[in-house]
Amino acid sequence: MNDNKLINLVNISKSFGDTMVLDELNLYIRENEFLTLLGPSGCGKTTTLRIIGGFEIPDKGQVIFEGMNITKLPPNERHLNTVFQKYALFNHMTIAENIAFGLKIKKKSKAYIKDKITYALKLVNLDGYENRMPDSLSGGQQQRIAIARAIVNEPKVLLLDEPLGALDLKLRQDMQYELIRLKNELGITFIYVTHDQEEALTMSDTIVVMNQGYIQQIGTPEDIYNEPKNAFVADFIGDSNIISSTMVEDKLVNILGVNFPCVDVGFGKNKPVDVVIRPEDIDLVRPEEGILAGRVTSLLFKGVHYEMEVMAGGREWLVHSTDLCAVGSEVGIKVNPYDIQIMHKPESEDEQAVELEV
């Protein structure tokens, strides 16, 4: 990956009727990057993708592709291809005709097209399917054909709009590996839209968390998970305990009346902050050893770990642990300083409102 900006979205705004979908969005996508737009439905992620693909024209702002302004270029003149959510295969054509569609329009030679079809089908592990009809294939197979149909055109960027949304869990996991492999073999840029945080964390180089038309945070999966910038990101990515607290001084935060040592600095003295503690980062110890003492109120077996709720300091704490603590038992809560993530409180009322709705 290099720092070359392949696509640059500058001050993009878009509304449908009275609904503002994107507001002054700025985002750049680097060459050979797997970038995921992640957020709940209605956050503007699909609209962003459709603006890049050329299916929507923004009300304001520019789409720059390799230094050229392509904001108003129709989709057929852009050097990128899209994989649609519901596959959008041409049901009146065979698999081979589907894959050949873009190449025939570009008037490639028959031999070239034939080679490309064989190559693409091999790439998506569906060799020998040339003469089948799309509706005789399973959902996962159809989605792979849709990918094959897109990549034979050798796009610089592949746009994927929740391509795994319609598949079942097992298939979705298999396809995640498949997509990572494809991305590495093709060496092109993927822009991926999903509301599934697990998908985003597994596949992406960069995750863009969006909500209500605004970008909440951009970062690597590790950044987003370990150091969420605000309560929305913390809440949307994985389970978390978000606690309104006070930053006493550098490296010391007061949570529910108890001082916890932490590693964050620069928030000032006695400033209100939000604290995120991931449930797997909480250690349950004997009551006298913990910083806070409490009682286990519920216990669920989740397969890999137990999910427990602990009443301590006047609130419920979500705890994930491989060690079992029976309901009703007295426990102490202990958190390592580097597992406490401190976030600024939202400043404006607007930001506040955004979070309340979540």
Binding site: G53, F55, P75, T82, F84, G102, K106, R149
Partner: protein, 296 residues
């Protein structure tokens, strides 16, 4: 191995109870279809067999092909060919008018769908005869159009009692039957399929030719059937707008029945039926060839 056996017997049992449920459900549904089956038997199947019987027998009820061979009578032959010509013309005109209309209508937002369907079927709220008679008045030598033209000292039109008037009547009356099925197919085409074609480099003309048109063919074909068949068999439109000079095969058959020649009328009807079946066979064959498999 044991576990496998158990699970396999389970797997067999479950669907068995499932199908049992389905049978009882379909039985209930079957009951509901009995009135229609009775209706169909009484008013479609039996009359059809009566026409076949009359068509293939003479006054004394003996088998003969004479009624059918009456189509070779020059007057009948001429009426049949004229009917074919006019109905094909009106079907073609309907198609040319309806396809762009359906295409434009299908691009409106979903909200106004029922309104669009309403506009299309609105003319059908008025009686078919009344509408045709209205056209007679409009087209007459002293009708509205000619009065208007005379007022401006323009040459008058003599459309009434010509084949053109009949084609006009057919197009006017049957156009909705062409628009609706095409419109219905067009609105069902997923927007993303069109987007996908554009995404793969097709301009709007290529997208229409390679995607929209082939996907809408089933609608076109049912539209053609729904216009061609009533046009071919009509005798009302030709009587009202064609006067007594223009005789279509429908008029011939009607006359035969009026005169009490049930055998001749039935025989000629059978010939007409053969033409209709033939046209439907050609259409469905074309449908299958172009589609590969059925969308509907």
């Amino acid at each position: 191995m044991r576990i496998k056996n158990i699970s396999s017997t389970r797997a067999v049992k479950v669907p068995a109870s499932d199908t049992g449920l389905q049978i009882s459900k379909t039985n209930k549904v079957k009951w509901l279809s009995y009135p229609y089956i009775l209706w169909m038997a009484g008013f479609i199947i039996i009359p059809l067999f009566m026409i076949i019987f009359y068509g293939l027998s003479n006054d004394e009820g003996r088998f003969t092909l004479e009624n059918i061979s009456l189509i070779l009578n020059p007057v009948h032959k001429k009426a049949l060919f004229l009917a074919l010509e006019l109905s094909l013309t009106s079907t073609l005109i309907c198609l040319i008018l309806a396809y762009p209309l359906a295409l434009i209508l299908s691009k409106f937002k979903m909200k106004s769908n029922s309104f669009i369907v309403l506009i299309i079927i609105l003319p059908m709220w008025m009686n078919f005869l009344l509408r045709t008679i209205a056209w007679q008045n409009i087209l007459e030598r002293t009708g509205i159009i000619n009065t208007f033209l005379q007022f401006f000292h323009l040459p008058t039109l003599n459309i009434i009692n010509t084949p053109s008037a009949i084609v006009l009547g057919m197009v006017y009356n049957f156009l909705p039957f062409m628009v609706l099925p095409i419109y219905n197919v067009l609105i069902k085409i997923d927007k993303d399929i069109i987007n996908a074609a554009r995404d793969l480099g097709a301009n709007s003309r290529q997208t229409f030719g390679k995607i929209i048109l082939p996907l809408s063919l089933p609608g076109v074909i049912s539209g053609i059937t729904m216009v061609f068949v009533p046009s071919l068999t009509t005798f009302v439109i030709s009587t009202i707008l064609g006067g007594s000079k223009i005789v279509l095969i429908g008029n011939v058959i009607e006359q035969q029945f009026r005169l009490g020649n049930w055998n001749t009328g039935s025989g000629l009807s059978l010939v007409l039926m053969i033409f209709i079946l033939l046209s439907m066979a050609i259409l469905s064959k074309y449908d299958k060839e172009s589609e590969g498999n059925n969308i509907w």
